[in-house]
């Protein structure tokens, strides 16, 4: 019985990427390569942002059709 209309897979993906990026950033920081640690954090944020933007676009289109706005 699914109560959520949202695709749960994407949530797991985002959570997984978040965990992996934080571990990677910590490991690179420990090894002394601070710039690369910050770079991977940035890349992770960008990737997650792209995923989230897709969902937000879907949300907007659904809202438009729901209220039959232009």
């Amino acid at each position: 019985m699914r109560c959520l209309l949202v695709d749960v897979d994407i949530l797991f993906k985002i959570a997984g990427i978040g965990i992996v990026v934080s571990i990677l950033s910590k490991v690179l920081d420990e090894a002394g390569r601070k710039e690369q640690a910050q770079m991977t954090t940035l890349v992770g944020v960008v990737v997650v942002l792209m995923m989230v933007i897709q969902l937000v676009a879907e949300l907007f289109s659904k809202v438009k059709t729901m209220f039959q706005l232009y």
Binding site: K13, G16, V20, V21, I23, L24, V27, L28, E30
Partner: protein
């Protein structure tokens, strides 16, 4: 569903292995440098105290070493005693080329060995000893640097391999 899991496992495994292989090369460099130093100092004793001729000295050293260092000395000896008229220096150079293909040593180390090889067998005994000691000193310096690099990099690459595998798996799932 199952196929996805198997594919994902393969992605994670292969990325981890790439990371492990890179980490292993960082681990191997100090060891190879140490073996080379031992082999060169063995050669020094053979030349200095044993007065053994070059091919026999090379094969004795090769017998007491293991792995690629032993191969290097054995190949040099083979080139020298073959009837193609190679000088010891040329024989060393050719064996060094094969050696440098499959080794974890960097260009700096190969250059030290190559510079040493130019004088191999062409000068008198004391000069040979000096050249050997010079090479050993150079290798020891590189070994210190290599140990530092190893401590920094080995764990890092292992983690990087595994984590990037997991990342690719998550992205492509």
């Amino acid at each position: 569903m199952f196929l996805k899991l198997i594919g994902g496992a393969m992605v994670i495994l292969s990325c981890s292995m790439i990371g492990f292989i890179i980490a292993a090369s960082y681990k191997q460099r100090p060891d190879t440098l140490r073996n080379l130093q031992a082999a060169l100092s063995m050669m020094e004793s053979e030349i200095n105290y044993g007065q053994t001729p070059m091919p026999e000295a090379l094969s004795r050293v090769a017998k007491n070493c293991e792995g690629e260092v032993s191969e290097l000395f054995r190949k040099t000896k083979t080139h020298i005693i073959s009837h193609s008229g190679f000088t010891p220096s040329e024989g060393w150079e050719m064996a060094l080329k094969d050696f440098s293909m499959n080794t974890a040593l960097k260009q700096v180390d190969i250059e030290i060995l190559s510079a040493f090889g130019k004088y191999l067998g062409s000068t008198d005994r004391d000069d040979q000893i000096k050249k050997i000691e010079l090479a050993i000193a150079g290798l020891k310096q590189q070994e210190t640097i290599a140990l530092e690099e190893k401590i920094k990099n080995e764990k890092l690459w292992k983690y990087l391999g595994v984590l990037s595998g997991i990342m690719f798996f998550l992205l492509l799932y």
